[in-house]
């Protein structure tokens, strides 16, 4: 009997705690709605409201983290993923899991105003949970060079750093123009981008790298293969006989696949390694990749 009453007391206590907590939360909510809001559309075309002044954000993709740093708003990032390793400062920010498995509780605890998401796959559950906590979800995923530039401009508007953004964009435009100049009138080099050695993955029609290689004075031999990162038949890869190989450099992708043993790329020592992070992230560093590929395929030093 005595134990029973104690149990009941405990339950009542729990209820009181719960209600006071929800009360706090609703009080919080009313406080935040007083912030001035503005309308904006994200890459999925969703109309969303964001605060006039954006001060706390979380990025769930390494390229978005790089972009936010690039337009000068890195100090407003309060949470990033475990993949976000650039710039150096990004590694000192609190981590909220990785792109595929972000930790909801950690994100909510960080009280961001906006969460930047690169994949639409989890948008449903994401939006519901986060927006219930007064957090806006912004979906953006640049898919090509142009997309990166557009994304940077958009982020500049969101964070209110137009000057810094303009400087950055102008610099990028110039560098891209320089590459265009460098490879103009040069023969297109047959290039194979090796994403992984075993099994042999490459870049296909839907990858932005196909465009980057093209812009850098090459032609991706796999540009017509469906999907973004297909596993390619070794027979076909051998038959392509590329003149240049670009390796997305990672511990198990440091040398060409055996099928390229007799390719002209290997024979003429046209095998180039580029940091996998630079190659795989649609961020300002994509221009670094563009320059490096162009330099590899059509070295300026030789021409001069």
């Amino acid at each position: 009997m005595f134990r029973n009453t104690r149990k009941i007391h405990f339950v009542i206590l729990l209820f009181i705690c719960f209600f006071s907590l929800t009360a706090c939360r609703s009080a919080n909510r009313t406080a935040q709605t007083e912030v001035k809001m503005r309308d904006i559309a994200d890459d999925l075309g969703r109309k969303i409201k964001i605060p006039e002044k954006v001060e706390r954000v979380v990025s769930l993709a390494p390229n978005l983290t790089e972009n936010i740093f690039a337009i000068g708003a890195g100090d407003r990032l309060v949470g990033v993923t475990s993949f976000c390793n650039y710039p150096e400062a990004a590694t000192k920010i609190a981590q909220v899991g990785d792109t595929m498995n972000p930790n909801m509780e950690t994100i909510i605890a960080l009280k961001p105003q906006i969460v930047f998401v690169s994949t639409a796959s989890q948008i449903e559950t994401f939006t519901k949970t986060l927006e219930a906590n007064n957090i806006t979800v912004f979906v953006t995923n640049p898919k090509d060079l142009n997309g990166v530039l557009t994304n940077l401009r958009q982020l500049g508007e969101i964070f209110g750093t137009p000057e810094r953004t303009t400087i950055l964009l102008n610099e990028l435009f110039e560098r891209i123009a320089a590459v265009d100049e460098q490879v103009r009138d040069k023969p297109k080099t047959k290039t194979f981008v090796q994403i992984s050695k075993e099994p042999l993955f490459t870049v296909g029609k839907e990858s932005f790298l196909t465009e980057i290689v093209e812009r850098a004075g090459g032609i991706s031999v796999t540009k017509d293969v469906a999907t973004a990162y297909p596993k390619i038949s070794k027979e076909t890869a051998l038959a392509f006989n590329p003149d240049a190989l670009i390796l997305s450099e990672s511990p198990d992708n440091t040398e060409p696949n055996d099928v390229f043993k007799n390719s002209s790329a290997v024979k003429n020592k046209k095998v180039f390694k580029i940091n996998a992070d630079i190659l795989s992230r649609p961020s300002p560093r994509i221009v670094d990749a563009l320059e490096q590929i162009a330099e590899n395929l059509h070295p300026q030093t030789n021409d001069n």
Binding site: P199, L200, L238
Partner: protein, 342 residues
């Protein structure tokens, strides 16, 4: 009257059924079966040689076409044949030993054990080529042992316990694999998940030589235990009473099956369903005598995987599918059909 008439009909039907089911397998004589299977194997190898993402002009091969044929296509086809044979033979042996037609390397966790072993070799000893098969064998052996120990009870081993233990070990190992993959970086992860699904494209000539030697020796050893397995299949107590050294046979079959599965998983990941449906089909055709079932399963397993891999190579060429996806795609419905038939 009507009722009587119906009753008579039903009875007739029942009798008819009994007649049909009196021979549930089609009983093709083994003297016809062997040349038929060898002919089929030859045909499937031939079609596999002719089909591929690159068209080859076989009568005047260019230098690069010769490389494609002899360095890429042929080794892969032959590796596929060895992997298929290994898995089918291991399946047939384990099924008889464990008195369960559902016992299969994949379902019993043996494949997952080998996969985990290979993965460890992958992560920690990537520089040694031989580390993969050795670790795969160790993993397969450990998984088999664990399943067996769990399934064994004082009253002997029953089928339900066995299947349950297999499921437990399989899921346990899967979760370890998932745990480890989440520690891998993204590039490694992609190649590994592809490999997990069963992928013959990573096979090397050395991998082929190893699986070839293993499958030949393994098939001979298991066939040499076939008479004992015939008795084990009926019951362990029976086998013991009629002169089988149960412990010895069990050890031999577990060890050989682990080595077979280990070497093929190390070479090509886990190719599912081969060890399940191939022996099943063979039993349907020639009965349960392991002296026939084991060698015939070897040939048929080779045919099955060679054909499945040919589909994997050409279906969406120049892209490729993992062969394990094809075997599962064919194997799962076929298995359901076989289950319903019995």
């Amino acid at each position: 009257m009507i009722i009587n008439g119906r009753k008579g009909e039903a009875e007739k039907r029942r009798k008819g059924e009994q007649k049909i089911s009196a021979s549930p397998h089609l009983r093709i004589s083994s003297s016809k079966m062997l040349p038929a299977l060898i002919g089929l194997l030859f045909l499937s190898l031939l079609s596999a040689v002719f089909l591929g993402s690159e068209k080859l002009s076989f009568f005047e091969l260019t230098e690069s076409q010769a490389t494609i044929l002899f360095d890429i296509r042929l080794p892969r086809i032959l590796l596929g044949a060895c992997v298929g044979a290994s898995l089918a033979v291991a399946g047939a042996g384990l099924q008889s030993l464990l008195r369960n037609p559902l016992a299969e390397p994949y379902l019993l966790g043996v494949s997952n054990g080998a996969a985990l072993g290979t993965m460890l070799a992958f992560v920690f000893f990537a520089q040694f080529e031989f580390a993969r098969p050795v670790f795969a064998f160790a993993g397969a052996g450990a998984a088999t042992f664990a399943v067996y120990q769990m399934a064994k009870s004082r009253a002997g081993m029953n089928v339900e316990r066995l299947v349950l233990s297999g499921v437990i070990v399989t899921t346990f190992l899967s979760s370890i694999i998932v745990l480890l993959t989440s520690l891998l970086d993204a590039a490694k992860l992609r190649s590994f998940t592809f490999w997990l699904l069963g992928d013959l494209s990573q096979g090397t000539k050395n991998g082929f030589y190893l699986t070839f030697v293993v499958v030949i020796i393994g098939t001979i050893i298991l066939t040499s235990q076939a008479r004992a397995l015939n008795l084990m299949m009926i019951g362990e107590r029976d086998a013991f009473d009629f002169g089988v050294e149960i412990k010895k046979v069990r050890l031999i079959v577990f060890a050989v099956a682990s080595i077979l599965v280990g070497s093929s998983v190390a070479a090509s990941g886990s190719v599912g369903y081969v060890g399940l449906i191939v022996p099943h089909l063979i039993r349907l055709l020639v009965g349960s005598d392991n002296r026939l079932v084991i060698p015939f399963s070897a040939i048929s397993g080779a045919i099955f995987v060679v054909l499945a891999d040919t589909i994997a190579r050409v279906a969406i060429a120049p892209r490729e599918l993992p062969v394990g996806a094809i075997t599962a795609l064919i194997g799962a419905p076929m298995f359901i059909w076989l289950l319903r038939r019995n």
